[in-house]
């Protein structure tokens, strides 16, 4: 089975800190995604990557950046964390066509204080 591993389940950071959320997948998937999930707003795509070093903005990229230096790892970076970035962050991966759907990680609950 494909595994998508997010490095932290819970994270508490201070306003203004630079925050790194890490995601690793073990099935050689081309695509990787970062979503944030807030009550009543569903899943909102932040960034996705369809190849190493390739990235595209999603629906809400402001305040975030990403890095994909290796195929298996996709990092989400909060350049200067703010309280409105308190949320659940979900990483996912898929084949290039996503015909098999996405495989999601367990999520990181980030609280910015």
């Amino acid at each position: 089975d494909v595994k998508v591993t997010q490095s932290s389940r819970y994270l508490v950071k201070r306003t203004g800190e630079k925050v790194f959320l890490e995601c690793v997948q073990d099935m050689d998937h081309e695509n990787m995604f970062w979503y944030r999930q807030d009550p009543g707003l569903g899943l909102r795509l932040i960034y996705f990557s369809y190849d190493v070093k390739m990235k595209e903005k999603g629906d809400i990229p402001e305040g975030y950046s990403v890095s994909r230096e290796k195929k298996e790892r996709f990092s989400l970076i909060l350049e200067s964390a703010s309280t409105n970035q308190t949320s659940m962050y979900l990483c996912a991966s898929s084949s290039g066509t996503a015909l098999g759907g996405y495989t999601f990680g367990s999520g990181t609950r980030l609280t910015v204080v």
């Binding site: 081309e30 290039g96 999601f104």
Partner: protein, 116 residues
């Protein structure tokens, strides 16, 4: 552009009752359709998927879904709900494109509450 609508934000059913969660999609060609379930505090788990062929697809945990092209729908059903089915359910559509088009579009989700 493709889109997905889940008309019901919140549904409550009694344990043992049947369940149907609605999903409508908008896409010009044959879509690839998915249902996911998310338990509280967890990631999303794939329940079932439809690509082509038999329009009634079986999934895990006793769920099934029926693709109806004429209604642009892909509703999820379960004959008898268990308390452990309480969760959030997401419908998604994909195009089968690759590169920067290899994405799924998700609905807003339906929260299922199960009464004892």
């Amino acid at each position: 552009a493709q889109s997905v609508t889940q008309p019901d934000i919140h549904i409550t059913v009694s344990e043992g009752a049947s369940l149907e969660l609605r999903c409508n999609y908008s896409y010009g060609a044959t879509p690839y359709l998915f249902w996911y379930v998310q338990s509280p505090g967890q990631g999303l788990q794939l329940l079932l998927k439809y690509f082509s062929g038999d329009t009634l697809v079986q999934g895990i945990k006793g769920f099934e879904a029926e693709f109806k092209r004429s209604q642009s729908s892909f509703n999820l059903r379960k004959p008898s709900v268990h308390w452990s089915d309480a969760a959030e359910y997401f419908c998604a559509v994909g195009t089968g494109g690759s590169g920067n088009t290899g994405k799924l579009i998700f609905g807003q989700g339906t929260t299922l509450q199960v009464k004892p």
